[in-house]
């Protein structure tokens, strides 16, 4: 089938998965001990009060009615209101989303930018010091819990040497940009510096695991590709070594690497949650944890839905890139 049809098919599948996500999130409430009413009502509330609260929250309706209401509201972008703060759930969640995206994107850029060259160098200079250094780094990198790494970085770089702030996010990237536009170069650069200053440690913390993972995969993938017959045949036709390595071997190496990246996106988001906790980064992760602890269902559901859907979307993009690189996938 053609590439376009493949995308369409994947897209439809994605929508199906999102629907599944939404449904599971809805079901979560019913498999949990303790009802939402308990979360909202004061401890000594009378049964009458509780009934009223239940009716207000729409909890007295039959299950399927609640489900359909839920879906209908969702399609319109209405995810309810926070039990705790009363703020509209969707607004609250979407306001925190940019921070998390920023963190995820920054660490991904660091990871991909560092790891692919590292992996290639490691594979092409096998058994040399550069290789040993890279393999050691990647082994330690995938074995280190990122929250501990974050804490150690804070310990050394913030507490000891005072180079970086220990927490918080002073400026968002968007905010920094608008400062540049509206207030000129001076304040703009200052804003950007603040942003950078605050995001470096969390981004490095979150990105380390992936840098290590991708380095490992790139290295082993390259080694395997370089041992394939077509590499020898390609050299035999006179192609310079650099082209053999990069245009041919690396390209084929990246194909499975991208698959794994897609599978590991979950780890990225999970890691983001933890990193946010360590650095008090005001993103979805912090929102999620607070909502769980407080049994704030609308926020909790909204967060899970957004995370789940976002995940599906990103996976779709990864699939698209993968299919572009590996023509045999589309042919299936």
């Amino acid at each position: 089938m053609s590439y376009g049809r493949f995308l369409l098919k994947r897209g439809l599948q994605g929508i199906g998965v999102v629907w599944g996500v939404v449904t599971i999130v809805f079901m979560l409430r019913f498999i949990t001990p303790g009802s939402a009413v308990d979360a909202v009502a004061p401890l000594d509330a009378s049964q009458e009060l509780r009934d009223r609260i239940a009716a207000e929250l729409g909890l007295d309706q039959p299950l399927y009615v609640q489900y359909l209401d839920y879906l209908w509201d969702l399609l319109q972008g209405d995810m309810g209101y926070s039990y705790i703060s009363g703020i509209e759930a969707s607004a609250q969640v979407f306001s925190k989303l940019p921070a998390t995206i920023e963190l995820a994107v920054a660490s991904s850029i660091i990871a991909i930018g560092l790891s692919i060259p590292l992996g290639v160098i490691s594979a092409t200079r096998r058994h040399e010091p550069a290789d040993y250094a890279a393999t050691t780094f990647s082994l330690v990198g995938i074995s280190t819990p990122n929250f501990w790494l974050g804490i150690m970085l804070i310990l050394v770089l913030s507490v000891e040497f005072g180079l970086f702030p220990t927490s918080g996010r002073a400026f968002g990237f968007g905010a920094a940009f608008s400062t540049l536009v509206n207030q000129g170069v001076g304040p703009g650069i200052d804003a950007f510096w603040q942003w950078l200053h605050h995001i470096i440690l969390p981004a490095v913390t979150l990105g380390t695991y992936f840098t290590a993972l991708i380095t490992r995969l790139t290295r082993s993938g390259m080694l395997e590709e370089l041992g394939q017959s077509y590499v020898r045949a390609t050299r035999a036709k006179g192609l310079p070594e650099s082209l053999v390595r990069y245009k041919h071997a690396l390209r084929n190496t990246l194909i499975p690497v991208i698959t794994v990246l897609g599978l590991q996106l979950g780890t990225l988001i999970g890691g983001a949650v933890i990193t946010e906790a360590v650095f008090s980064w005001p993103g979805l992760g912090t929102t999620l944890i607070n909502a769980i602890n407080a049994r704030d269902w609308p926020i909790l559901q909204a967060t899970l839905v957004v995370i789940g859907s976002g995940f599906v979307i990103v996976n779709l993009v990864v699939d698209a890139v993968y299919a572009y690189l590996d023509p045999q996938v589309v042919a299936e």
Binding site: G238, Y246, R251
Partner: protein, 397 residues
């Protein structure tokens, strides 16, 4: 006297593995003439494929060419290197092995082109066939446009650009003209609908079609010598015939020499003017096709020919050669003739190193060399090696 385009002298390639030193190719001599097809025939493990790889300098670790010269006739190249590498130049011939690495690489294409046994594993599965053939064309184009031995083929293709291009198909390296030429080449080798085919991927081709495409790729540099390593072994019989015919046609049109490596005697008989027989890394007999096939001197060649069923003279039993192919581990090879333990005509004088002797030749200007004492004398039963002596040869260090 037809001129030789390639003269191989004393080529020796060894593999230094964990288990020990493997003598894959031992003191191999042969010539290839302009416009001829020279066959190299032997069983698996005889060293024929390694010989091919050694010619184009693609022997990979733990292997290494330890000795020998590969004389290639190119007057311009000889002239260029006469001063800087006096030992490497002899008249119009250049010893390729003594040239710098970049020059040797440069020769892949215009001097030597190679097609391998399994076309599917000779191509990158994720890049179109047309693109890969165009690559070969482009490489040659750039080499010709620039002085030799320089970075002509790299053309500023640095790591950064490569990383970007590695994700996006790099049409930048390969020019439009090269793509067009690739389509022309596909047409030349008889592939129908070449523009369409060029956009397809290797897995969309049939085996025979893909091998044709490989031939097209090999032609990109207008090579003097086409090395074909088992080109038809992986193909169906009917397709085999097509490919062989294609090779013959092209050879005539291009005035190209072909080194045809195979274990199939029928293919040799069909295509080659001269042939070399390899056993245990050595060339045991070589000469004109008629000489070798009709008047074989070396008992191995005899045995090889005798093990083919003959439809016109069906014998009640085939006569295979007794014994097994010897180990090529240096520690297990002795000083005697490597075939001695299986040879029905082994004699005492076979227990020493055998040099190449010249035997009778029925063809003008095609010498008949045999690495066997029987080239110059008759078999004498009284000196025969008994079974115990042969056993000793096998087990001896």
């Amino acid at each position: 006297m037809t001129d030789e385009i390639l003269k191989v002298r004393n080529l020796t390639t060894r593999f230094f593995t964990e288990e020990g030193q493997v003598n894959a190719v031992e003191s191999v001599d042969f010539d290839v003439r302009d416009g001829e097809t020279f066959g190299i025939v032997g069983e698996s493990g005889s060293g024929k494929s390694v010989t091919a790889l050694s010619l184009i300098d693609l022997v990979e670790t733990p292997g290494r060419i330890v000795e020998g010269e590969v004389w290639y006739r190119d007057a311009d190249l000889a002239e260029e290197h006469r001063e800087s590498h006096p030992d490497a130049v002899d008249g119009d011939y250049v010893d390729v092995r003594q040239l710098p690495e970049s020059t040797r690489r440069w020769l892949r294409g215009p001097a030597f082109a190679t097609i391998f046994q399994d076309p599917m594993s000779s191509l990158n599965p994720s890049i179109t066939v047309g693109e890969q053939i165009a690559e070969a064309v482009e490489v040659q184009r750039r080499a010709r446009a620039n002085p030799r031995r320089t970075r002509s083929r790299t053309q500023g293709y640095g790591l950064g650009r490569l990383l970007v291009d590695s994700v996006v198909p790099s049409r930048d390296y390969v020019s439009e003209e090269s793509h067009e030429r690739a389509v022309e080449l596909l047409e030349r080798v008889g592939i129908p609908d070449p523009e369409q085919r060029a956009e397809e991927y290797p897995h969309e081709f049939s085996g025979g079609m893909l091998q044709r495409a490989m031939v097209a790729q090999a032609l990109a540099g207008e090579p003097d010598v086409l090395i074909a390593d088992e080109p038809t072994t992986a193909l169906d019989v009917t397709i085999q015939a097509q490919i062989l015919n294609l090779l013959r046609d092209l050879q005539e049109e291009e005035d190209m020499s072909v080194v045809l490596i195979t274990h199939n005697l029928g293919v040799i008989a069909r295509m080659c003017q001269r042939v070399g027989v390899m056993y245990a890394g050595e060339v045991v007999e070589r000469g004109a096709l008629e000489d070798v096939f009709q008047n074989p001197v070396h008992p191995y060649t005899e045995g090889l020919l005798g093990s083919i069923p003959d439809i016109e003279d069906p014998a009640p039993r085939l006569s295979p050669i007794e014994g097994n192919v010897p180990s090529l581990l240096d520690s297990e090879m002795g000083e005697e003739c490597y075939f001695a333990d299986r040879c029905p005509k082994a004699m005492e004088s076979c227990l020493h190193r055998i040099d190449e002797h010249e035997a009778e030749s029925t063809v003008d200007d095609a010498a008949h060399h045999v690495r066997c004492v029987l080239a110059n004398r008759e078999y004498d039963e009284s000196e025969a090696l008994g079974p115990e002596a042969k056993q000793e040869v096998i087990t001896d260090d």
